[in-house]
């Protein structure tokens, strides 16, 4: 059976054999950095293509189909074009912040990669406060967006950035509460423990209706947090042309674009970990034969499958719904999502205390 766990242990054993432990750790760090950067590049290419294909099929058209078989290399060609394009900086822009902003947004995405369990025992950093770490770091991306909006010296960018600030700060709350419901059920903040607690069933099934509500709230909140339609007010194409990245071009624009998709991947990965058991295969009660069969599918495939299902869901939203207005966006959060999630948290607490979950 294919397993990523074996590879990592082998690599570590070999490194410890050759070098002293400090050196081995340093080399491992370099490997991890290289791997995460390549994962970023790969994800960017795959997700952009996926978005375009999903959009095309929903909109009764074919989507990219010229470069490579079925248009597979379209995004590669686009990236090459963006790399070669001149990166313009507006005349009166704050050059330092303008150049820094895309990297800040990227950096946040990279930091969020750390606690995600990609497969069984395949995790960069199994920090004991994993969930807390995620919710605290993910709110940092607003700094990059505000920076971009301010530094561009463009009114559209400024409005977009301000909208984005208000939006991310408020939706952080209900995303946090949705995550908390699972923490209450599990009793731990550590990602690996949360996954292990779902060995006999995923939380979305085990947690009764509150878990389903929490999942719906989570999906809505993270769609807003990643600035995706119907909450893409920071970009709001028909209102603000391109919002906070109006003035960006070339590779700097590509970084923003990439960061958007990386963020989607990360929030979906976290959603899959919390509600769908991460890399844990589908187990149903005591159907031994079925459970055994499911175990044969590698854990990395399970994780990726769930994540991409959630990504598809978010893309489906984008290509179906109109955009909300900025006051309606905040109304939705403060008048609907927040009260519901507070009530839901209470419900989950009751369930957890009485032990009603499976």
């Amino acid at each position: 059976m294919f397993s990523l766990e074996g590879i990592t242990t082998n690599v570590q054993d070999w490194l410890l054999m050759k070098f002293n432990p400090t050196m081995a750790l340093a080399i491992e760090c370099v490997i991890v950095i290289l791997l995460s950067i390549s994962l970023f590049a790969l994800l960017g290419l795959v997700l952009v293509l996926m978005e375009r294909k999903v959009a095309a099929h929903i909109q009764i058209r074919l989507g990219p189909n010229r470069v490579g078989p079925g248009g597979m290399f379209q995004t590669v060609a686009d990236t090459l074009k963006l790399i070669m394009k001149e990166g313009l900086v507006p005349d009166k822009a704050d050059k330092f912040l303008f150049n820094l902003a895309p990297f800040v947004v990227m950096m946040v995405g990279m930091l969020l990669l750390a606690p995600i369990a990609f497969a069984k025992n395949f995790q960069i950093w199994d920090i004991s406060i994993g969930v807390l770490y995620i919710s605290s770091v993910s709110s940092l991306s607003v700094i990059g967006i505000l920076m971009a909006g301010w530094a561009s010296n463009n009114k559209y960018s400024l409005i977009g950035a301000m909208r984005s600030g208000a939006q991310i700060v408020s939706y952080e709350l209900s995303a946090g509460f949705a995550v908390l419901t699972i923490v209450v059920l599990t009793g731990s903040l550590q990602i690996s423990e949360i996954v292990n607690a779902q060995q006999n069933g995923w939380w979305i099934f085990k947690g009764h209706i509150p878990a389903v509500i929490a999942f719906v709230l989570y999906i809505i909140a993270v769609t807003a947090e990643t600035n995706r339609a119907p909450f893409d007010l920071a970009e709001a194409e028909s209102e603000l042309t391109a919002g906070f990245h109006t003035e960006y071009s070339g590779m700097r624009f590509a970084l923003f674009f990439l960061a958007e998709y990386i963020n989607i991947f990360i929030v979906c990965a976290i959603g899959a970990t919390l509600f769908f058991g991460g890399w844990m295969p589908l187990h149903i009660g005591n159907w031994e034969a079925f459970n055994h069969l499911m175990d044969y599918i590698p854990s990395s495939v399970w994780f990726m499958g769930k994540t991409f299902f959630l990504i598809f869901l978010i893309m489906w939203f984008r290509w179906t719904f109109p955009r909300l207005r900025v006051d309606q966006l905040l109304n939705l959060e403060w008048k609907y999502l927040l009260p519901i999630s507070l009530f839901n948290l209470l419900l989950v607490a009751v369930i957890a205390i009485l032990g009603w979950h499976f």
Partner: protein
């Protein structure tokens, strides 16, 4: 008005009380063309909107003065290009009225059917573009699928998809395509089966409703005083359908309802257009099987000369009342010509209905006013 440097000065500096002046357009995704709106904002709230026109001015009226009465019809297709057929019809009606040309019944029927098809095509495009303004991209493609069938019918019969120029004084340029009736019926069935899609995706969608209901309210009095016509005025409860008030061609023989809404907000304007599409289908259904046989063009002189005097006709385009006013000195070309385009008056209410609302509301109001910029600017 402003000179160039004043515009730049006016829009690049912060105004009083934290006002933010932004230029929407002439290149902006929501203005659908080269409309330039100078929007004064207070945060997200709109304080003032000033439309600047002239980016696509082609002086069509002056151009028409040098063209003969046969030639000037085709230029009007370039004004409101989405209802070009109806524009052409308005001009042809004026010449027929002025010269007392008898138009055969067959031509009249076909003209009405094609006018209604044009109206549906225009509303379909508007529906898609309007949904896109509000951020929903997908309905655009669904609307275009149905619109494509109409453009195919137009291509078969008139030889062009957008600027048909199928109408000549006295009738039509040539006869119907043999497949016309079959294709129109196929379109009607397709349209009826797909209407629910727009309801699911757009009309009943909670986000769409909350974006449009109560947004950009135009009262009936204001609609009249600003000279609004067409769906914009009818959404405010002003009965102004030229097809009902001054029936031309065979509109007095067909049964259809003038769609009226009373709310006057963006959603009412949306509903008026959606219901109008169904009324147009109703008109076409009544006429399509009853096209009389006979000539498709009446007898006209080779050189048309309008008698000395002033002439005015109006038709109901997809956007409202389109008027043609011609002063003739008795020659082969008009002495002075003036088009009353619906878009210009409809645009003028934009400031009135958007003050105090948000940037997002501006998209909804502007989308439901259904602006075609070449129609405004001519």
């Amino acid at each position: 008005m402003y000179n160039q440097t004043e515009i730049i000065k006016d829009t690049s500096e912060l105004g009083a009380d934290g006002e933010l002046v932004i230029n929407m357009g002439p290149q902006h995704p929501a203005t659908h063309g080269v409309l330039h709106l100078v929007v004064t904002l207070n945060g997200e709230t709109i304080k003032k909107i000033e439309p600047h026109l002239g980016y696509i001015h082609r002086s069509i009226e002056k151009m028409c003065e040098s063209l003969t009465y046969r030639q000037f019809i085709y230029v009007t297709s370039r004004m409101d290009y989405l209802s070009s057929h109806i524009n052409n019809l308005g001009c042809a009606l004026l010449i027929e009225k002025g010269m007392q040309i008898e138009v055969p019944d067959r031509a009249k029927y076909i003209r009405v059917i094609l006018s209604e098809l044009t109206r549906i095509a225009s509303h379909e495009l508007w529906l898609g573009a309007m949904a896109m303004d509000l951020g929903a991209f997908t309905p655009f493609f669904y609307a275009f699928r149905e619109r494509e069938m109409i453009t195919d019918i137009m291509e078969d019969t008139c030889g062009a998809r957008l600027t048909m120029n199928y109408i000549v004084p006295g009738g039509l340029m040539y006869d119907l395509h043999p497949d016309f009736q079959k294709k129109v019926k196929a379109f009607i069935t397709q349209f009826k089966s797909k209407v629910t899609e727009y309801e699911d995706l757009v009309t009943n969608n909670i986000i769409f409703q909350s974006r449009t209901k109560g947004v950009g309210i135009l009262s009936a009095e204001d609609a009249i005083s600003y000279g609004c016509t067409g769906p914009v005025a009818r959404a405010s409860g002003v009965s102004c359908d030229i097809r009902k008030i001054y029936p031309y061609e065979v509109y007095d023989k067909v049964e259809f309802d003038e769609v009226l809404e009373t709310a006057g907000d963006s959603f009412a304007r949306y509903m008026v257009r959606v219901k109008e599409m169904n009324q147009s289908i109703r008109i076409i259904e009544q006429l399509i099987d009853n096209i009389p046989e006979g000539d498709f063009v009446g007898k006209t002189k080779n050189v048309l000369k309008l008698p000395k005097g002033e002439f005015y006709t109006r038709v109901e385009t997809a956007r409202g009342e389109f008027g043609v006013y011609v002063v003739s000195e008795g020659g082969t070309t008009p002495h002075r010509i003036k088009f009353r385009s619906p878009g210009f008056s409809n645009l003028s209410v934009l400031n009135h209905i958007s003050v105090g609302s948000m940037i997002g509301d501006l998209m909804a109001s502007m989308g439901t006013l259904d602006l075609v910029i070449p129609d405004i600017d001519r």
